[in-house]
């Protein structure tokens, strides 16, 4: 039997052994703390332990589990909350109370809960990897589909149980492969968290993830199967933005990873999501959400694993043919966990103490996003939206810079916007989305033909304002000619009336694409009408006195989402008032 040789924080070493393999799960000490092998040399095997190591002694037993760090996948994942290594926190509360004890070994999924299973294969059918053999309603929203593990060789169905109520470990189907080996299929399977689940092929990305947030949907869209990063210093609203996206985006399932963040925030997500009713399905948001919570005071090694656990769960549901959005808050904490462990291993640090493999780890993670044809033949996607917390709010630090290389959508949060309580505080000048081109056809077909042109005109106004502001900062607005003053006033409507969005207002918290389009259209109508008035020699003061600018700033509140015909009246009013100005 192997024994522990040394203990230093979460890093434990075993001496002179050949029993362990890389990335294998281990049980350390008498408490059987869960850990993972992260290094093997001639003399030492190095293990990172996912739980507190207080009281651990050299000489205590340590044993390999024989499998790599794996997630248990099966019905019961949704509406649940797990820690970084997929331990169910509600169950842990029942076992050890409000504070989490070390060495609590519990099954991630409820093994006693029964599901209404429909077996979809008959004896004699052939089953291949990724194909579905049973389904069951997991929540009122989501049907769980049990698929043959991608690792299986497949084969012929020998027995299939009758439809009925089964627990996750009950065998429902038996298959025999070409070599005559039989395999018993239950409702669940295991998958190593650090290995991406395979798909048949990657499909081109051309559908937007619709979020109901104007600056995202219209100006900086993200595609289903795409990647986006939200960098921002503290207090700029990263978490708020992610909450909004998690609540309103049109993914089927949300995986929310709280990686090294605040405990109260996770509690808030739990509470809010169970109370919020999704208007599209009339069910609480928790029905389509799974939470991974590794708060900042939970063990650091499990924080590193939480990201992988989250994405593995997402890929599993993707393989059933669902669209998943992952909110990872925050990837910087994950990178810091890497740094912390790397430091304990005394590895040679690269930039700012981060290990040299930081970029490759980041790219591996973001590359697990994608829109795919699954092994089972359906289409599914995983969209990753990662928050980044740059140290010292400096975007040139390694995590932000490396993330920027691997994502195609960059929503830079801005301190000065946040200070002025302009939310979402996404800075339109620093941010970009590479998906605009890919998604153009979708917007043309599903919203309006000229959506992209209208969007471009709105962007142009912001760009021009940005140039003019250089002058305004030096000389004030009074010196500008009237047409430039008009542009500044119009840009103000775009900023305050359009980009700024109130998450606490019942109509403004989610805005359908149609209304987004009509709002832009109204702004452009006012702009072009006012421009004509200016060219007729009407002064800016007269134009402002019409009150139309203020009216458009408030149209987001004044026009309810279900009364979009009101925009016609707005347009008529703009035209008649403006043409009446002499």
């Amino acid at each position: 039997m192997n024994t522990i040789y040394s203990v230093n924080g979460p890093v434990v070493k075993v001496r002179n052994t050949r029993d362990f393999s890389m990335l294998e799960t281990v049980y350390a000490g008498k408490k059987r703390l869960i850990g993972e092998v992260i290094g093997i040399t001639e003399e030492f095997t190095t293990v990172q332990v996912y739980e507190g190591t207080s009281g651990l002694m050299p000489g205590e037993p340590i044993e390999p589990a024989g499998t790599p760090m794996s997630a248990l996948l099966g019905p019961g994942i949704l509406s649940n909350i797990f820690d970084g290594i997929e331990r169910p926190l509600k169950r842990l509360e029942q076992i050890s109370g409000a504070f989490i004890n070390d060495g609590s070994d519990v099954s991630p999924l409820d093994t006693e809960r029964e599901f209404d299973v429909t077996v979809t294969v008959r004896p004699g059918d052939t089953l291949e990897a990724g194909q579905i053999y049973a389904t069951c309603p997991e929540t009122p929203l989501i049907t769980h589909k049990c698929m043959l593990s991608p690792l299986s060789k497949g084969g012929e169905v020998i027995t299939a149980a009758a439809n009925g109520r089964y627990k996750i470990n009950d065998t429902v189907v038996t298959i025999r492969n070409k070599d005559g080996e039989t395999e018993e299929l239950t409702l669940c399977q295991r998958w190593p968290i650090r290995t991406p689940r395979p798909a048949a092929e990657r499909l081109p990305i051309n559908r937007p993830l619709i979020t109901g947030q104007r600056i995202v949907d219209t100006i900086l869209p993200v595609a289903k199967g795409g990647t986006a990063a939200i960098p921002g210093g503290f207090g700029t609203g990263k978490t708020m933005t992610q909450h909004q996206l998690a609540k309103w985006c049109d993914a089927d399932i949300i995986v929310y990873i709280g990686c090294g963040e605040r405990g109260n925030e996770m509690t808030q997500v739990l509470e809010e999501f169970s109370q919020l009713i999704d208007p599209k399905t009339d069910r609480p948001l928790t029905d389509r959400t799974v939470l991974i919570a590794n708060t900042s005071n939970m063990p650091v090694a499990a924080r590193e694993a939480s990201i992988y656990t989250g994405i593995t769960l997402a890929e599993y549901y993707r393989d059933m043919g669902y669209h998943i959005a992952i909110m990872a808050d925050s990837t910087s904490r994950w990178a810091e966990a890497l740094r912390e462990i790397s430091g304990r291993l005394e590895e040679m640090p690269a930039e700012e103490g981060f290990p040299a493999y930081l970029p490759s780890r980041l790219s591996e993670f973001y590359e697990r996003a994608g829109y795919v044809r699954t092994l089972g033949g359906s289409e599914g996607s995983v969209t990753i939206i990662g928050a980044v917390s740059p140290q010292g709010s400096d975007f040139s630090e390694p995590v932000t810079q490396n993330t920027k290389r691997f994502v195609r959508c960059f929503w830079a949060l801005d301190k000065s916007l946040a200070y002025a309580r302009h939310y979402p505080a996404i800075n339109w000048n620093q941010s970009y989305s590479e998906y605009v081109e890919d998604l153009a056809d979708y917007y043309k077909e599903n919203v309006r033909d000229d959506f992209m042109e209208v969007r471009q005109e709105i962007s142009n106004i912001l760009v021009e304002e940005n140039t003019l502001m250089e002058i305004v900062k030096l000389m004030g607005t009074d010196v500008l000619p009237d047409d430039q003053k008009l542009l500044i006033e119009t840009a103000r409507i775009v900023r305050v009336g359009f980009l700024q969005q109130n998450a606490y207002h019942k109509d403004d918290t989610y805005v359908p694409l149609e209304k987004q389009y009509l709002m832009m259209k109204a702004i452009l109508t006012l702009y072009s009408e006012a421009k004509q008035a200016v060219s007729r020699g009407v002064g800016m003061n007269t134009i402002m006195a019409t009150g139309l600018f203020e009216k458009l700033v408030k149209m987001k509140y004044d026009i309810p989402n279900d009364r979009l015909e009101m925009f016609d009246d707005y347009e008529k009013e703009i035209k008649s008032v403006m043409s009446a100005l002499a």
Partner: protein, 467 residues
């Protein structure tokens, strides 16, 4: 069980190593007895084969390789607890130093605590009225929140903390279930005295537990101080259902102690020499605030830290801001123009505020007023920047209105006396009066209904006078 080990094999800074040990656990405590009979506390920080590395809390002065006897205690550092700790003063390592004798413990608890299961938390919603306009209106303090004060050397953070303690209506019934836990890490003797005196004058001293590690006390002990304080706080809050306000000062000294300790261990440094695990370490303190389901008590934290060189991007304030639920930032310019409390409102923030204010908590218009005040004051900064280039005379009418608003905001709203206790209605009305000095069209964060109800240019004139 308790084996005695004689002698050491190595001494380096606060660390000592000894060999041929067995049956010793990571994080375990040990007592080191010197040949002159005095005792020191030490903790196991690394185990490797039969070698153990220990950090000595009171420093290694006077230790030699031969003059020591070490006895391991078989458990991590524990703090004796009983309701009697109220009104007592302890050293940074939790030993009574007020000459009133030992505590008769009802129980002992591991000072490192355990992570709180997010499922077991209750989301904090109850606001604490501090009577300070800038905090109540703009960065509302919520029971169970951790809201640090980011300050600089020489600013009035201590005074502000005392005013919060004195005016905070945190308790439910006549203050019976309210107490303060005060943890001082590396502060000057004068500062500790100031707090003690103020608590005395306010008559809350009997409700205060003090853990004092002064600036000339050993740095290793400083690492224990906040942990002792929080353990005491959790005990009183969750086992005796009290509302505990924890004041920790100064977190920068704490982080520096951690850095000193880390470098003596030969660890690879991260930013500015601070250890790579500074974030996790600070989080293990700050996250020990909150409310647990099934207990009526709460732990609210106000850590105070001084930003070295007033730099908010320094690792200590930076990492703190990422963990805590907002921050109150103090500003040197405001302070030197005689404005107390010198709260720099734009970078200040309370993350839990949104759910603890409004109808049923403060007043229905609170969020709007706060948003509008923030937005307007942000514009004041733009107007001032412009004025410094082209001169105030050349400004447009609306910019001039903002300049005036800025002056009134700082002198009438932010500024208030050390004894001035404003109700939330007074504060919000004052906010509306300030907003009423601006043209109605500028107010784009409030809706028509509330503009109708509260906007009154006449009232503003009554309060602030013409020009």
């Amino acid at each position: 069980m308790s084996v005695k080990y004689i002698g050491l094999s190595e001494i380096n800074g606060p660390l000592v190593a000894l060999e041929n040990v067995s049956g010793v656990g990571y994080d375990e405590m040990a007592k080191i007895k010197l040949s002159d009979g005095s005792e020191r506390l030490a903790r196991v920080v690394e185990l490797s084969g039969d070698k153990a590395v220990l950090q000595v809390f009171e420093g290694t002065k006077g230790l030699s390789l031969t003059n020591t006897e070490i006895r391991f205690e078989g458990k991590p550092m524990e703090l004796p607890l009983s309701p009697e700790i109220l009104g007592r003063i302890f050293s940074g390592a939790g030993r009574p130093i007020d000459g009133l004798g030992e505590i008769y413990p009802e129980k002992t608890a591991d000072i490192n605590g355990k992570p709180l299961n997010p499922v077991s938390r209750t989301y904090p919603r109850n606001y604490i009225n501090t009577g300070i306009s800038s905090i109540d209106a703009l960065t509302t303090l919520i029971r169970g929140q951790k809201l640090p004060i980011f300050s600089g050397s020489g600013l009035s953070h201590n005074k502000l903390a005392v005013q919060i303690v004195r005016q905070a209506k945190i308790a439910d019934k006549n203050g019976e279930d309210f107490a303060v836990v005060f943890g001082a890490m590396g502060v000057k003797n004068d500062v500790a005295d100031y707090f003690k005196r103020c608590f005395e004058e306010t008559g809350v001293l009997k409700k205060v537990v003090m853990f004092l590690n002064l600036s000339n006390d050993p740095i290793i002990e400083r690492i224990l101080t906040p942990r002792c304080a929080l353990t005491a706080a959790e005990y009183l809050a969750f086992e005796h259902n009290m509302h505990i306000l924890v004041i920790l000062t100064d977190m920068t000294s704490y982080a520096e102690a951690l850095r000193e300790f880390s470098s003596s261990k030969g660890e690879i440094p991260g930013r500015k020499g601070y250890p790579g695990y500074l974030y996790s370490d600070l989080a293990s303190l700050y996250e020990r605030a909150g409310i647990i389901e099934g207990s009526s008590g709460s732990v609210t934290q106000i850590p105070i830290l001084t930003m070295p060189n007033d730099d908010i991007t320094h690792p200590v304030p930076d990492l703190t801001g990422y963990i805590t639920e907002g921050q109150i930032v103090l500003d040197r310019n405001l302070d030197s123009t005689g404005i107390y409390p010198p709260v720099s409102v734009l970078p200040s923030l309370s993350r839990l505020m949104k759910d603890g204010i409004g109808e049923g908590y403060t007043r229905e218009d609170h969020q709007m007023v706060a948003n509008q005040l923030f937005a307007a004051y942000a514009k004041v900064q733009d107007a001032r920047a412009l004025a410094s280039v082209i001169g105030e005379e050349e400004l447009s009418e609306s910019d001039k209105a903002y300049i005036r608003f800025g002056v009134l905001f700082e002198n009438k709203f932010l500024k208030q006396g050390f004894d001035e206790n404003r109700t939330i209605e007074q504060t919000l009305d004052l906010g509306w009066a300030l907003l009423s000095t601006l043209p109605k069209a500028e107010l784009d964060r409030v809706d028509e209904e509330h503009l109708e109800k509260y906007y009154s240019a006449e009232k503003a004139k009554d309060i602030f006078g013409e020009e």
